[in-house]
Symmetry: C2
Subunit: 248 residues, 2 copies
DNA sequence: GCAAAAGTGTTCCGACTACACCCATGC
DNA sequence: GCATGGGTGTAGTCGGAACACTTTTGC
């Protein structure tokens, strides 16, 4: 970047002053509650102006010496304690007037948001309740109106989630360590909507690929035949890396 | 973004000061020279410090009141005059120490780069030679060492180009208004490498999809049977929008 | 036994592969 | 005529869709 120096822009007449920025990161954190078959996203309650008392995405402003990813990690770990984590940059929103604080101090700084997309395991994600700020998992279809342009970011994250699910093994970052094939199928159904595939076809396709290892253990959930517990075998998956469209 | 106020970070001890940013946009501009079967990217010569005399991507620093996309558009139109244009955000690079200017003024501002990905038609892309700065199309496989982390951005853009080509109609933003099926096939071959598909199969698959309209005109290029000129029919393509994997 | 959930197998059909072959032009 | 590139057709094969069926559990 930065092919042009600040001075090279002063050449012509009007208002070519560079904008000053603060940079924030906002994270759409997804998780799946396999018990209740719900796709969840983490929201926090704002307790400062602007948008006091409104829900928004977890986020943080980038500090000196801190990388974007570090800031994202910090924002996340302030809100929830996790073991495994998938994190990926989403999109950068940087138009003027997206943050009301800009107008307050006129020539002041502009706020730019680099959004991130995260996946965590629901079972081992412990929310950090600090007693002050509200924090909660919201089913994706019940997300209220959020502060700033955060609804747009959530929508963007949802799109990415659907796409990723189809051609990369992120499902296993959301599922517990061991899971049944029904769990896996449920997950796909929850995210991609019903009738994305027949269960039995889904089943045989995935097993044929050979990176799901049968643990030998079985689990019985209410009535019906007990299901085998599987484990994702990263070794066996390696050859599929970079290859398109493995799932679904 | 910005769930946390600046003051909320001053709570604990050490250096929690927010970083100050200038934001730049850098564009990887791709074009395809169908005459010579080359995939090209546009580079400009730096004539300011740092990295004087080195090639880099076209870019600009975001000015007050300007959106990211506007800045990208400005950076592009300073260098090349085009009719049609495909523009899409790529990735945001924002780690500390990616720009040597940061260290100069110690506590000074940090430079963040939002990279964009652009496609233009080679035939009607007129480079703007201002007599001072060098500017040139480089074959992608001959791109030299660039200033900053721009080589990384180019690599990223190349990946995106390959992916996009497979499931969206961006090819028609690069090809001339009318083109032969060989032109289209060449384009895919140039970008994706040889033997991605048989020509005759590629041909019938695309024609069957029905969004390539035969103009009735033919063109003869040297020996051999003249080829029909086709046109991309956006209307007819509409139903395929949002559907996965149409091409290849 | 019966319902419920897991797991297996089979048939059908469309799509992609890999060719072989025909057509129109320049020289 | 013949080389060159454009365009058409076909047989073989692979994989997904749909659905019927079997197995193992709880009650």
């Amino acid at each position: 970047m930065l092919a042009h120096e600040p001075d090279s822009q002063a050449s012509s007449g009007i208002s070519h002053a560079l904008a000053d920025f603060k940079v924030g990161v906002d994270i759409v954190i997804f998780s799946v509650d396999t018990e209740q078959n719900r796709l969840l996203t983490l929201l926090v309650m704002r307790h400062d102006a602007p948008f006091v008392g409104q829900w928004c995405l977890p986020g943080a402003l980038v500090q000196q010496g801190e990388s974007l990813e570090q800031a994202a990690d910090r924002a996340l770990s302030e809100k929830v304690r996790v073991n495994s984590l998938y994190l990926e940059q989403l999109f950068t929103f940087g138009g003027p007037d997206r943050d009301p604080r800009e107008s307050e101090d006129s020539f002041g700084v502009r706020y730019l948001s680099v959004s991130y997309f995260a996946l965590v395991r629901f079972a081992d994600a412990k929310l950090i309740a600090d007693g002050v700020s509200g924090i909660a998992w919201y089913p994706l279809d019940q997300v209220p109106t959020l502060a700033f342009d955060h609804n747009e970011i959530v929508k963007y994250g949802d799109r990415r989630l659907r796409n990723k699910l189809e051609y990369s093994p992120i499902a296993f970052d959301v599922l517990p360590e061991t899971f049944t094939l029904s769990d896996l199928y449920q997950l796909y159904t929850i995210v991609l909507g019903d009738n994305f595939s027949d269960y039995s076809n889904f089943r045989s396709r995935l097993l044929k690929l050979g990176f799901l290892a049968d643990t030998g253990r079985k689990v019985s959930r209410g009535a019906g035949r007990p299901a085998s517990l599987y484990r994702f075998d990263a070794q066996a998956f390696a050859p599929f890396k970079d290859k398109p469209l493995v799932f679904i």
